[in-house]
């Protein structure tokens, strides 16, 4: 297994509360990996530390560890992490409500390095070319996510489910290497969950590595090749879905009772 993301001994405290207590694991390149755990176990905090939104107290997160082009993500600001092609979504769904659906996709692909504000305003030929290419890409993305007919509507007018699709499409606009998805199907109806699931598999098949935080365990067990379980800031266990599903510690962490039954949904 070649790791594309290495989380190494990450510690994050808020005053007396230890949110992450030396979490360590590797995410395999081209995999769908699950990160589960009860509320408050530190999943979102870990995403925040990897993506630069929170400064960790100790530890590292590496992109392409051990390779020549390895990047230490934990030392970068969020903008740099995004430009290193590690994209994230948020637990609380976020789109640019004041921009059109198409512009949401375009803005997600706008941050090509080397462009200055002057170049953007004066529309130098390089900017024009980039914009044209991105418009074509956005059109394809709109088609793929069944949003074409809403392309010029403000994103704020979309339904919750459509916004979830837009959020994923935005994350894909720049060919990310790693996608950190925070509850991609939370609050979505069963039909759309099916569609999102298909999209996630397709994204993985394109070579994107997915690390998913999700409370819908049925989806996690079905989709993920490997699952890491966090509890109170520590890595409780990890393994293939079957192993994790039968680990009594997982159910205990989720329900607070000792049982050997399989957690389901």
């Amino acid at each position: 297994m070649t790791p594309i993301l290495r989380v190494q001994g990450i510690v994050k405290t808020y005053g007396a509360v230890t949110a992450l207590d030396g979490v360590t694991f590797d995410v395999a390149r081209g995999s769908i990996t699950g990160l589960i755990g009860p509320n408050g176990s530190g999943k979102t905090t870990l995403f925040d530390c990897i993506s630069g939104f929170q400064r960790r107290d100790a530890g590292h997160a590496w992109l392409r560890p051990g390779e020549r082009g390895a990047v230490e993500l934990t030392s970068l600001a969020p903008v740099r992490v995004a430009r290193a092609r590690v994209r994230r979504t948020f637990q609380q769904l976020k789109v640019f409500t004041g921009l059109s659906v198409r512009d949401n996709l375009l803005i997600a692909a706008q941050s090509a390095p080397g462009f200055s504000a002057f170049a953007e305003v004066l529309r130098v030929s390089r900017v024009r070319e980039h914009e044209r290419a991105m418009r074509e890409r956005a059109a394809g993305m709109l088609e793929e996510f069944a949003l074409t007919q809403h392309a010029d509507d403000p994103a704020g007018s979309l339904s919750y489910g459509q916004r979830k699709l837009l959020e994923l499409a935005m994350a894909l606009m720049t060919d990310p290497e790693v996608l950190l998805l925070d509850e991609p199907v939370a609050g979505v109806n069963p039909t759309l969950i099916g569609a999102l699931k298909q999209h996630l598999v397709q994204v993985r098949d394109r070579g994107v590595t997915l690390l998913i935080v999700e409370h819908n365990l049925e989806l996690v067990f079905e989709l993920c090749e490997r699952i890491f379980v966090l509890d109170r800031g520590r890595l409780l266990t990890s393994g293939a879905p079957r192993e994790v599903a039968h680990d009594p510690r997982v159910l205990e962490a989720y329900l607070g009772v000792k049982s050997a039954a399989r957690p389901n949904g």
Binding site: V95, L99, E120
Partner: protein, 313 residues
């Protein structure tokens, strides 16, 4: 189409009014309106498109006014040089004030920009060797553009109109560009903007500096037009007037601040007809606009341009 034609006729009529009337008073108000259009767009860039409540516009305005006045009074420089320098001074103060203030929260930003403006007012009051303190700088000569003096009211009106037109044009370029889209994105959701790799700080700093350029230019025009400036140019009342113009005109739209600048420069003059009732009527009109046109007067045009929705072609 009909509506567009009506709007066009109204615009041409309003623009031609001073020329037709020939009254010095009307020319004066018209020239001031042009300056306010420039200032309102300056604030609109930061507040409307960027979503940041900046109280630094008078700082840029005052700096521009003092730079142009001092250079022409002391050194007798041509306005073709001093106007761009006043604008550049606005950019530099935009960078200087923006660097610390854009790193703090949106709430603190308001306070930092206000403090910077008040600080500059203190400097203008106390650096007497240069600014003559509270005595102010008087007898600022008429601007000379490439040696040709702008003295006639008509010339002033046309200069002010040209500057306002240029600023509106630049704003439309910026708002319709990918940079404009980025500004709206940072206004909508800062966290998401960072997560998609937008440099929020750089985007805002650029908008803030451009805002400085506009206001610096307005300051230079104002100083030459009124021929006298004192530290009052840094006053909070400038911000107050501009906020009314931008918000009630239509914040984050191209034409809203223009409409706001025209209406709220002309309105107080019209209300002079009823001197005793002036303040009361002004207040009532403000309330009525807030009640019936909460998104701004520009919605009356029926083509309110959603910020950032302008197509990038």
């Amino acid at each position: 189409m009909n509506r567009t034609r009506t709007t066009a006729i109204v615009v041409v009529a309003v623009l031609a009014l001073p020329l037709v009337s020939g009254s010095p008073y009307v020319f004066h108000v018209a020239a001031m309106t042009g300056f306010y259009v420039v200032l309102a767009q300056s604030l609109n860039l930061v507040l409307g498109y960027g979503g940041l409540l900046s109280l630094a516009t008078p700082a840029f305005f005052g700096i521009g006014a003092y730079v142009a006045a001092i250079l022409s009074l002391r050194l007798g420089w041509d306005s073709a040089v001093t106007f761009p320098l006043a604008s550049l001074a606005g950019v530099m103060s935009g960078i200087a004030i923006g660097f610390p203030s854009l790193r703090v929260s949106r709430h603190s930003f308001v306070i930092v920009t206000l403090s910077a403006t008040l600080l500059l007012q203190l400097v203008a009051n106390n650096w007497e060797d240069v600014t003559r303190g509270s005595l102010g700088l008087a007898n600022i000569p008429a601007p000379r553009l490439f040696g040709v003096a702008v003295t006639e009211r008509t010339e002033w009106y046309l200069l002010s109109l040209a500057m306002a037109g240029a600023v509106v044009f630049v704003t439309s370029l910026v708002a319709g560009s990918r940079f404009g889209r980025a500004m709206v994105a940072t206004r909508d959701n800062e966290q998401l903007a960072l997560a998609v790799g937008l440099d929020v700080f750089a985007t805002r700093l650029f908008a803030f500096s451009l805002s400085g350029a506009f206001a610096g230019l307005a300051g230079a025009l104002y100083a030459h037009f009124i021929t006298y400036i004192d530290p009052g140019v840094f006053g909070f009342s400038v911000s107050e007037t501009l906020l009314i113009m931008v918000i009630l005109g239509g914040s984050g739209t191209l034409w809203g601040p223009v409409v706001g600048a025209v209406v709220f420069t002309v309105l107080p003059e019209v209300l002079r007809l009823a001197p005793e009732m002036r303040s009361l009527l002004y207040g009532v009109i403000l309330l009525l606009i807030v009640l019936y046109r909460p998104s701004g007067l520009a919605t009356w045009l029926g083509r309110r341009r959603a910020a950032g929705a302008a197509p990038f072609a």
